[in-house]
Symmetry: C2
């Protein structure tokens, strides 16, 4: 009844790389080196153009070792990119209470959306986003995972907070889900749209603050309780 672990995937269709119980420190370091090298290669070249030879070179291991650990190029790609996705968004979830309990709602919204924009505009995050978007026809799991990681962890708490604020009469929000989408679109979404097609241009903190502030004021002009 031993499961076929070589092709094992989780609920998202992301490969589960079996953890060898007797994992020595050297083995763990090699696996990490492979994952890091693969991440760099895939981010720079995309899936199809990435070379397994280049990955083994960068990692300082032989090709056979890579295939022993990860099976195929597809499995390596999915495991590594999904790992990047998860660790990128970890620790950046906004706490709904921080917004609902805030003394100055406008200031809290600005701080919150600005943090989000800074994260999304980081060059490595933008590169990861471009990679996922470009490969989405071949790896739809990554699209679903991205959606899940960003929307559930980020938009979800915001929707809760908006609902709570609406219940207390501090906001006038008929559709909290749509309102949160609009808030994100009008703050982080604006510079993101520009940077998506022009990598590595003009990331001026002051300009970002101006855009985010304007977006929050736009949001509040409609949704602040009268």
């Amino acid at each position: 009844m031993e499961a076929e672990t070589a092709n094992a995937t989780d609920a998202f269709g992301i490969p589960v790389i079996p953890v060898i119980p007797s994992s020595s420190e050297a083995v763990r370091r090699k696996r990490r080196a492979i994952a890091d090298a693969a991440a760099a290669e895939f981010l720079a070249e995309g899936f199809a153009a990435a070379s397994m030879d280049a990955i083994t070179s960068r990692a300082g291991v032989s090709k056979a070792t890579v295939y022993k650990h990860f099976g195929t190029k597809e499995r390596l790609f999915l495991a590594v990119i999904a790992g990047l996705l998860r660790e990128t968004c970890a620790g950046h979830e906004p706490r709904a209470s921080a917004l609902a309990e805030a003394a100055d709602l406008r200031a809290a919204l600005i701080a919150l959306t600005r943090d989000r924009a800074v994260l999304l505009l980081r060059p490595d995050v933008m590169a990861l986003r471009r990679l996922v978007i470009g490969e989405i026809d071949r790896f739809p799991q990554l699209g679903r995972l991205w959606y899940r990681v960003t929307y559930d962890r980020y938009d979800g708490p915001l929707v809760e907070a908006c609902t709570e604020l609406a219940r207390r009469g501090q906001l006038d929000v008929p559709d909290p889900v749509l309102a949160v989408q609009q808030l994100v679109a009008v703050t982080a979404g604006v510079p993101q749209l520009v940077h998506t097609f022009a990598p590595g241009t003009g990331r001026d903190p002051a300009e970002l603050t101006r855009v985010v502030t304007s977006g929050v004021d736009l949001f509040l002009a409609r949704y602040a309780a009268s």
Copy 2:
């Protein structure tokens, strides 16, 4: 002084495919067949994974013919994708006057942004967008061209219209460029963000109208003249 036409590119870095003066009808049809086949293959597979053999098969010509006309895979890719980009956006520019002269500004904004959203959400346009985003590190020309085609042709007229409306006192817009970016983000940008990571899901016209209308109302709540 005859220029080297084999590597010729235009101001954007897009290859200029020399038009043979004595182009017979059969030759023109073959070239079109190659371009169509290449577009389908590149959109489905991306640049690196696309096969020149598959393109020649689809087009019903030999490989030598493709190379005679387009030189290399890179040049074929750039020429074909840039062509798609240009023809996709052709005829969809909003006329600034249509907005400035509108009797009902709100209705005009809704119609305008809804048309834009319908265009951007078309499956073929979304696929093209994903391709350009995914290949932007290797073909930054396409990013610049996309930016130019969409922003100059679309946002530009809107900025003019907003400036005109502000001058007449019908809008209160301190920064027209930012305001237009916000308008687009909060209308077409909202469903686009969702569809980017979940291809081929839920394109309900009524829902789109609801989202766009809400976005326009959000825009007007801040920028309508008091």
